[in-house]
């Protein structure tokens, strides 16, 4: 995890040197970025929940600062606020969880907590409560249902930030934390189920939304949510190593995709709508090839990294519950679909933008391309880290992480899959991938059917998907609007009449009492002596005589 943060962080920094060149907030940007990396390292290196929490908060703060980096744009500020508030909701749960841990185990140190936790019985209500609270924190930070909507909006920040937040670091903090507390989760099967289902729903849900999005970064954002969903699915079925593995590979290819997208946006002069792109392959060859590698990696085409990690999750899921597998498989197929749609629309076919943009199309500078290539390389071979035994691999990562998860694995007894089942599932997956990839090509390049200039006459489902299931609207209608109405009411009646009076009253009472109490300090020694004697007499009477 440390390597991911520093490694990917470094690459993104190099990239940002090119991307942010000429921005007035150049220095500010890098100080925020480094603060972010610092907090993230604090989070990762913590050996107790408290330090973890400090890092956690620091990350949240930096993400707020970075999303709202271009603070002159009100929409960006709103996005930043949204991210911060959603994170805070999660953090509240997390903090409650930590306090509960402390009161239950008398310590917040990982080793103490885990060793003491194993004394409790499986499914102990306290453990379930703790894990659920921690999971609430993870939901907020890792953008799972229902606290995910901040992430697509968070695309307002500079692209390196998106890469930083979505790929390497912040969003994976939740996954990391849950995996780190694996022992606790292993003791709480109900929470595990909640985690798995949340992850699964998020994975499919976000993937389906991604299919109909048009903003290049939003697609990637939803894809991230979906991939995080897969990770939680893995955590939920007890495959902690797989989750961490997917986290690693995801860090590689998602950082790659974001940075490549950044390169595209850079070339388009800020345009992010993929309907306006197309045929960029010729103009941006390096970007195209690296993006292609990222796409196939995320889609899970062997032998790229995503194949190993995602399939491992799916295999583990199958062994836990085939129904989960089917849903998860659907999600993974959608992944293929939207990724190829994105790539096809962007790079293949003909250019659909303005001619003005066409003239300005040129490849990005070297400091942007080299990070891309490094990441592409890593995305391509990242799978080697943990090639499962089925393919004759060494499962390096599994051994490396074994000490951390040993406690949890002992408690879980994950059943193994037979070789045949495994191979069967693999074949099914591969076929699915190929079909979907072809479908995407057919739809978006050859036919151009998927490309409708306006959003008017869509059928129900695509429309729903395009509008992201109206979740934002749902939140607006169901939570924000009533809240606004309520707050309007409160503002008019309660605020001015009651709260204002109360708050001011409390404040005034404080100041008044402070002002009054201060006159006790008369400056006369005689008075002080007198008060002390009274204190002494009272203490003696109440403690000695009346007992």
């Amino acid at each position: 995890m440390l390597l991911i943060v520093t490694g990917v962080g470094f690459i993104i920094h190099v990239y940002s040197v090119g991307y942010m060149k000429g921005d007035p907030g150049y220095n500010r940007f890098f100080s925020y970025m480094n603060l972010f990396v610092f907090s993230m390292l604090l989070l990762v290196l913590a050996d107790n929940y408290l330090v973890l929490f400090i890092g956690w908060e620091g990350v949240g703060l930096c993400s707020y600062l970075l999303i709202g980096f271009w603070f002159r744009n009100q929409a960006f500020n709103n996005a930043a606020k949204k991210a911060f508030i959603m994170n805070r909701i999660g953090d509240l749960g997390f903090l409650l969880g930590i306090i509960l841990i402390f009161t239950t185990f008398g310590s917040v140190d990982f080793s103490d907590v885990f060793s003491r936790a194993t004394c409790l019985s499986v499914g102990d209500p306290t453990i379930v409560a703790i894990t659920l609270l921690l999971f609430v924190g993870a939901i907020g930070k890792s953008a799972q249902i229902p606290l995910y909507t901040w992430l697509p909006d968070a695309m307002a920040g500079p692209t390196p930030v998106s890469a930083m937040i979505h790929a390497a670091t912040m969003v994976t903090a939740g996954v990391y934390m849950v995996a780190r507390s694996g022992v606790l989760y292993a003791l709480a099967p109900p929470t595990m189920a909640v985690v798995a289902i949340t992850g699964l729903i998020t994975a499919v849900f976000a993937a389906s939304i991604a299919i109909y999005q048009n903003d290049i970064k939003k697609i990637l954002a939803y894809s991230t949510i979906s991939q995080l969903g897969f990770m939680f699915l893995a955590l939920g079925v007890g495959a902690f190593t797989s989750a961490m593995f997917h986290l690693t590979t995801h860090a590689f290819f998602k950082a790659l995709l974001f940075l490549a997208a950044g390169s595209v946006i850079h070339a388009m002069g800020g345009g992010q709508d993929i309907r306006k792109m197309g045929g960029l392959k010729k103009k941006l060859p390096w970007t195209y090839y690296t993006f292609l590698i990222g796409t196939v990696a995320i889609a899970g085409v062997p032998p790229f990294s995503g194949f190993f990690s995602k399939d491992e999750i799916l295999l583990q899921t199958f062994s836990a519950d085939p129904v989960f597998w089917i849903v998860g498989f659907t999600g993974s197929l959608m992944t293929v679909l939207y990724m190829f749609r994105l790539m096809n629309l962007t790079f293949l076919g003909n250019f659909r933008g303005t001619s003005d943009q066409q003239h300005h199309l040129y490849e990005s500078p070297r400091e942007m391309l080299i990070p891309l290539m490094i990441l592409a390389f890593l995305s391509a071979i990242g799978g080697v880290l943990n090639v499962p035994a089925i393919f004759g691999g060494s499962s390096f990562l599994e051994h490396a992480l074994h000490p951390v998860f040993a406690g949890a694995q002992l408690l879980l007894h994950t059943g193994g899959l037979t070789l045949n089942t495994g191979v069967f599932l693999l074949v099914v997956t591969l076929i699915g991938i190929l079909v979907m990839a072809y479908l995407a090509y057919q739809l978006y390049v050859l036919d151009g059917k998927g490309l409708k200039p306006d959003d008017a006459n869509r059928r129900f489902l695509p429309h729903l998907l395009f509008q992201r299931y109206y979740v934002d609207e749902l939140y607006r209608k169901s939570i924000i609007n009533p809240l606004l109405a309520l707050s309007g009411f409160l503002n008019r009646v309660v605020e001015f009449r009651v709260i204002d009076w109360l708050v001011n009253g409390v404040g005034r009472a404080m100041v008044w009492s402070g002002n009054t109490l201060r006159y006790i300090q008369t400056g006369h020694v005689g008075f002080y002596l007198f008060m002390m004697i009274i204190g002494i007499i009272l203490l003696l009477v109440f403690n000695v005589l009346i007992r």
Binding site: Y519, T522, G523, H524, G526
Partner: protein, 106 residues
């Protein structure tokens, strides 16, 4: 003289010392002259000395009397410093009335 302890119960010493201590406390509270307040504090300390000596004798344990020596040491030091402070105050304000010194307050 040796039969003292046979006749007088320790309670009498305790009562006597409490009374003396109380008089000292009243003196501290009532007086405005810093010098007399210091004397009243000496009264308090003396009553404690007597109490300790009485305990020590009745218990046949020398520790109490040893402690009295230390208290005397401390009392002497305290008086030396206290009188120096009073002299200092007198030089700057020409009074040793404690109620006059109340610039520092609130």
């Amino acid at each position: 003289m040796t039969e003292t302890l046979m006749v007088i119960p320790i309670l009498h010493y305790l009562t006597f010392c409490s009374v003396l201590f109380g008089i000292g406390v009243i003196g501290v509270l009532v007086k405005r002259n810093a010098l007399v307040i210091l004397m009243s504090i000496e009264l308090m300390i003396n009553s404690i000395n007597l109490l300790l000596a009485a305990f020590s004798t009745y218990l046949n344990d020398p520790a109490g009397q040893i402690f009295v020596f230390f208290i005397m040491v401390v009392a002497a030091a305290e008086v030396a410093v206290g009188l120096a402070i009073i002299v200092l105050i007198f030089r700057t304000t020409h009074t040793i009335d404690i109620d006059v010194l109340n610039k520092l307050k609130w």
